[in-house]
């Protein structure tokens, strides 16, 4: 399998920059498996990242890749998709990138239902800067900027995306790789805004400070604390306390932004043509005289 994925990698860029035990490579593997499964054309697939450990993934991928400014990946991706709707545009981002500095772009991209697939690597921490708390760091956890424990509650990012207008929302973990791959593939296939939240481990900057020993233990934690959405119906709120609900969480059919835009263009061209200059109020805009 690995060999089949190698064509998607800039192999001379390895070894990668991620720490031992980091789950980002697992998420990246799932993304590539999904791309392979769908047979996406490499020349027609654009992968956009923000800033942070997860977003550095784009540098290892042999596509047109764009590593943007912090939090803004979705806004750059919106420009690409709107300019060239025929391209597949995938965004890789992290919890801080997408929900703190990029929170506004996140909800508006979801609201527009523009056909972007977001793979959100949620490692519950700002890893690259050395372990500061993010909007997805659970309460009462330690971070370098929360040495006495975090106070703030977390976003439910899947619920946030659903409420904002996303038409495909799923969550999985780096333990549940088959599910993660199929959710990413489902998100890419969905014509609209898709969010796949990937719960991933940062042993260096989250686990180490929060009594989780290493990458392997954190994977086991994911195994023991994830509950598939289908099983939640038989569980009481008490049983669900502290669990991660995984699976396809939301899907609906809503017209996609660039599709509607193309209809508007067709109508504007048919009804009024390209025009020359904007008409002056109450008069001829421009004339020619011989």
């Amino acid at each position: 399998m690995m060999q089949e994925l190698e064509k998607y990698l800039r192999r001379d860029r390895f070894p990668h920059m991620w720490c031992p035990g980091c789950g980002n490579g697992i998420v990246l593997g799932c993304l590539l498996r999904a791309i392979k499964k769908l047979g996406l054309e490499q020349d027609k697939t654009i992968i956009v990242g923000g800033i942070g450990c997860s977003s550095r993934a784009v540098g290892y991928l042999d596509f047109n890749t764009l590593h943007t400014t912090h939090g803004r990946a979705l806004a750059f991706a919106t420009g690409i998709k709107l300019a060239r709707p025929e391209l597949n545009v995938i965004v890789v981002t992290g919890d801080g990138d997408a929900t703190a500095i990029g929170g506004n772009h996140f909800i508006h991209a979801a609201r527009r239902n523009i056909d972007l697939t977001v793979v959100l690597f949620n490692n519950n921490i700002y890893g690259m800067t050395g372990g500061q708390y993010s909007p997805l760091t659970p309460a009462n956890k330690k971070a370098t900027t929360a040495p006495h424990g975090t106070i703030e509650p977390v976003f439910d990012v899947a619920e946030l995306a659903r409420a904002a207008g996303a038409t495909f929302v799923g969550r999985s973990t780096t333990y549940h790789t088959n599910l993660l791959t199929s959710l990413i593939a489902g998100g890419i296939e969905n014509k609209g805004f898709s969010l796949v939240e990937a719960i991933t481990a940062c042993p260096t900057n989250f686990g180490r400070r929060n009594k989780m020993k290493g990458g392997a233990e954190m994977l086991l934690w994911q195994r023991d604390n994830a509950v598939h959405v289908q099983k939640t119906k038989q569980m009481s709120p008490g049983e669900l306390e502290g669990k991660i609900v995984i699976g396809l969480l939301h899907k609906k059919e809503t017209p996609e932004y660039t599709f509607v835009y193309d209809q508007i263009i067709a109508r504007a061209r048919e009804e009024s043509g390209p025009g020359t200059l904007t008409p002056l109020k109450g008069g001829e805009s421009r004339g020619r005289t011989e």
């Binding site: 800039r10 860029r13 490499q42 020349d43 027609k44 654009i46 956009v48 784009v58 540098g59 042999d62 596509f63 047109n64 890749t65 764009l66 590593h67 943007t68 400014t69 803004r72 806004a75 750059f76 991706a77 919106t78 420009g79 690409i80 998709k81 709107l82 300019a83 060239r84 025929e86 391209l87 506004n104 772009h105 508006h108 835009y261 508007i264 263009i265 504007a268 061209r269 009024s272 043509g273 390209p274 025009g275 200059l277 904007t278 002056l280 805009s285 421009r286 004339g287 020619r288 005289t289 011989e290």
Partner: protein, 380 residues
């Protein structure tokens, strides 16, 4: 034989910017409403879809420039328009466009600041921000028109320069020029030079996305056209891939400046009046240059040998040309709707602060010809 004559037309400065952009081939606009630039967005929203182009109102100005850069990477000439507060928000992505060499045009219709200031009042307080607003040493081109026709021409020029040199180009209007309505006769489409970015010219296997050609600018492949490469705001090598190698980083930074510095004659545009025998020159740009022109004409009528020097390209600073002007005159007067931002640069080049005088206003009102004329009389 019949002659085709374009009829004169009444046009607003902001409207001229929108029309200029369309003629230059812009087919993507992303923006956020802000006085006094909003007409540009409104016209683009109306016109672009009719021409097969795209307009999008983003959630803020940060996103607006991000979307513009994304669309430009996908091969579409792209532009945004804003005013001071929005221009401040765009600064980080202006740096991205400079570093990643993505052609784009940012129109800033200046209003009185700092902060929310006086939204409907003119100012020229963003002259230094346009040059140095984003962090790090970066190249930038800034143009500033003084009339509606010039707003049209310089918009076309801004798009051309962005495509040619792969830099963000700032078109700096002020509220007066943005909202001014005056008679214009636009050039026929064929009369305008339209520049498109240079494509790779080699097969994808041989393409190095950040290797410059003989002009110092790397040919640009558009996303989705079969040339797979990486674009980043990190220091990068010729493949576009990130590096911490000091030599490679330095070469990149020096080249980004060199591609502008070796083409100054192409980039710098200016205009002048009565320089031949002038003993005193008014150096002015934007709306202030209109008052300056009137003051110079009135001074001439009363026997003062005054001249006008008008930089249309504010940055890079036309240092050699200003130095040449300074050699022949005893005083240069720099009127500005700020507290002397551009005057600092003139002083640097002239080297004698006593020979450079300012007329400055920051109250949201235009500098009048009378104020400039009074100083012209004083210095002679």
């Amino acid at each position: 034989m019949t002659q085709v004559v374009e009829m004169a037309r009444l046009m607003q400065g902001n409207e001229a910017v929108a029309e200029g952009a369309l003629v230059a081939g812009v087919r993507f606009f992303a923006g956020y409403p802000i006085t006094p630039s909003t007409e540009i967005a409104e016209i683009m929203a109306e016109r672009l879809p009719r021409m097969g182009g795209k307009f999008i109102q983003m959630e803020d100005e940060i996103a607006s420039l991000a979307a513009v850069i994304g669309a430009s990477l996908a091969g579409v000439k792209s532009i945004t328009a804003t005013s001071g507060p929005g221009f401040s928000l765009m600064q980080e992505n202006i740096g991205f466009a400079a570093m990643a060499e993505v052609p784009c045009v940012i129109v800033n219709v200046q209003r009185s600041g700092p902060s929310t200031g006086m939204p409907t009042a003119p100012a020229q307080g963003d002259v230094m921000q346009a040059r140095w607003g984003t962090h790090g040493d970066h190249p930038v081109i800034v143009l500033s028109p003084s009339s509606v026709r010039e707003a049209y021409d310089l918009t076309v020029r801004a798009v051309n320069l962005a495509e040619k040199y792969r830099v963000p180009v700032v078109l700096l209007l002020d509220e007066v020029i943005g909202h001014l309505r005056e008679k214009v006769i636009l050039p026929a489409p064929g009369e305008l030079e339209i520049v498109n970015r240079k494509g790779p010219g080699v097969a994808p296997a041989g393409y190095l996305p950040y290797r410059p050609d003989e002009t110092g600018v790397p040919p640009m492949a558009n996303f989705g056209d079969g040339y797979r490469y990486h674009v980043t705001g990190l220091a990068h090598d010729e493949l576009g891939l990130p590096t911490n190698n000091p030599e490679v980083a330095e070469q990149l930074l020096l080249r980004l400046h060199e591609k502008i510095n070796r083409n100054l004659d192409d980039i710098i545009m200016d205009d002048s009046m009565h320089l031949e025998d002038a003993g005193v020159v008014v150096l002015a740009y934007g709306a202030t240059a209109r008052s300056a022109g009137r003051a110079v004409r009135e001074a001439r009528n009363s026997g003062i040998k005054a001249g006008l020097y008008r930089p249309l390209t504010l940055w890079p600073f036309p240092a050699r040309r200003v130095a040449a002007v300074a050699e022949k005159v005893h005083t240069i007067i720099v009127p500005e709707m700020n507290l002397g931002q551009y005057r600092l640069e003139v002083e640097r080049v002239v080297g004698d602060r006593d020979r450079v005088r300012g007329v400055n206003r920051v109250n949201g009102e235009l500098i009048t010809p009378g104020e400039i004329l009074a100083l012209l009389r004083e210095v002679v």
